[in-house]
């Protein structure tokens, strides 16, 4: 039998507030946000921090939904293991004395790695004021994609948290890579 106590202890020690692995749907995002809103209400006194965490979480979750390729209809596990896997994602929200941490992981197609990496690096090398100017420029000039987002999501995450975007890509096969992302939101 699975050692649940060990698992419980590990999650407890790491201050895990919520974790999920599987297919991310819009309904699921809604449920996660409701749960986290309740948890933050209990745990966090600063309204400012609460709002920042909620805001960043909204963007992270919607990013997750938009990056996962929903172009095909139902995933078919028998057809291709990765065809199924690429709809799947992981989310871990945890906290420590200094910050809340939102970590997400999902598959992306290999051809999108360089573009995403370049975008995240650009955001990370930009000062606070430059980031604000970039946000305004995209907001005013660029057409948003059908899926929404429009490139503002990661800028907003960086602005609200005031932190660098942590990320890693792991090549899985010739078609897919796994994208790991983590943002820390300092406590007030």
């Amino acid at each position: 039998m699975i050692d649940l106590y060990a698992l419980y202890q590990r999650m407890h020690d790491n201050n895990i507030m919520l974790t999920f692995k599987g297919e991310v749907t819009f309904d699921l995002i809604d449920s996660i946000l409701k749960i986290m809103e309740g948890r933050l209400e209990q745990l966090e006194d600063s309204r400012k921090t609460k709002k920042k965490v909620y805001n960043v979480l909204v963007e992270c979750l919607q990013n997750l939904c938009h990056h996962i390729d929903f172009s095909d209809s139902q995933p078919d596990p028998n057809k291709d293991e990765h065809d199924y896997l690429r709809k799947s994602a992981i989310l871990i929200i945890f906290s420590d004395d200094d910050a809340y941490h939102v970590a997400t992981g999902n598959y992306i197609t290999g051809e999108n790695v360089n573009g995403l990496k370049g975008w995240l690096d650009e955001i990370n090398s930009t000062t606070k004021d430059e980031l604000r100017a970039l946000y305004k420029r995209i907001l005013d000039n660029e057409k948003f994609s059908e899926k929404g987002g429009g490139g503002l999501g990661f800028i907003d995450i960086a602005r609200k948290s005031g932190q660098k975007l942590n990320y890693k890509f792991k090549e899985i096969n010739d078609k897919y890579s796994f994208f790991s992302f983590q943002i820390n939101i300092p406590k007030a």
Partner: protein, 128 residues
């Protein structure tokens, strides 16, 4: 013309666009996945309002707790419609309200204000 009233939800704001009083209010949170769909009727209403407005003054009042980046562009589209009314000579203004000490929301208001010509007031709400 008809007023536009939409009840808010956990991820969409209360809408109360009143053509009789000239007060157009948007209040609550705006974090829908498909914001284009939500904001379309608001934009269409504003198109009608331009040629039907009978009030002396029109004020768009925005008081948001949260909004996501997918809403941000739609909110700008709303503001641009109002901006066009202003340029057409209508007496219009925008009030952007933010909760006490919510610097993120204050900054967001300033960002919008920079992109528009219409009178844009950023107002801090006192804690209740």
């Amino acid at each position: 013309m008809d007023n536009l009233i939409i009840e808010g939800s956990n991820h969409t704001p209360d809408v109360n666009f009143n053509a009789d009083t000239g007060t157009l209010a948007l209040k609550g949170r705006s974090t829908p996945e498909n914001s284009i769909e939500f904001y379309r009727p608001l934009l269409e209403w504003l198109d009608q309002y331009g040629s039907n407005s009978k009030t002396e003054k029109t004020t768009l009042k925005i008081q948001l707790e949260y909004f996501n980046t997918s809403s941000s562009k739609c909110i700008l589209d709303i503001f641009k419609k109002v901006n066009a009314l202003f340029k057409d000579g209508l007496n219009v203004s925008i009030n952007w309200y933010y909760e006490e000490e919510d610097e993120d929301m204050q900054e967001a208001g300033e960002d919008y204000s920079d992109l528009l010509d219409v009178p844009f007031e950023i107002i801090e709400l006192e804690e209740e």
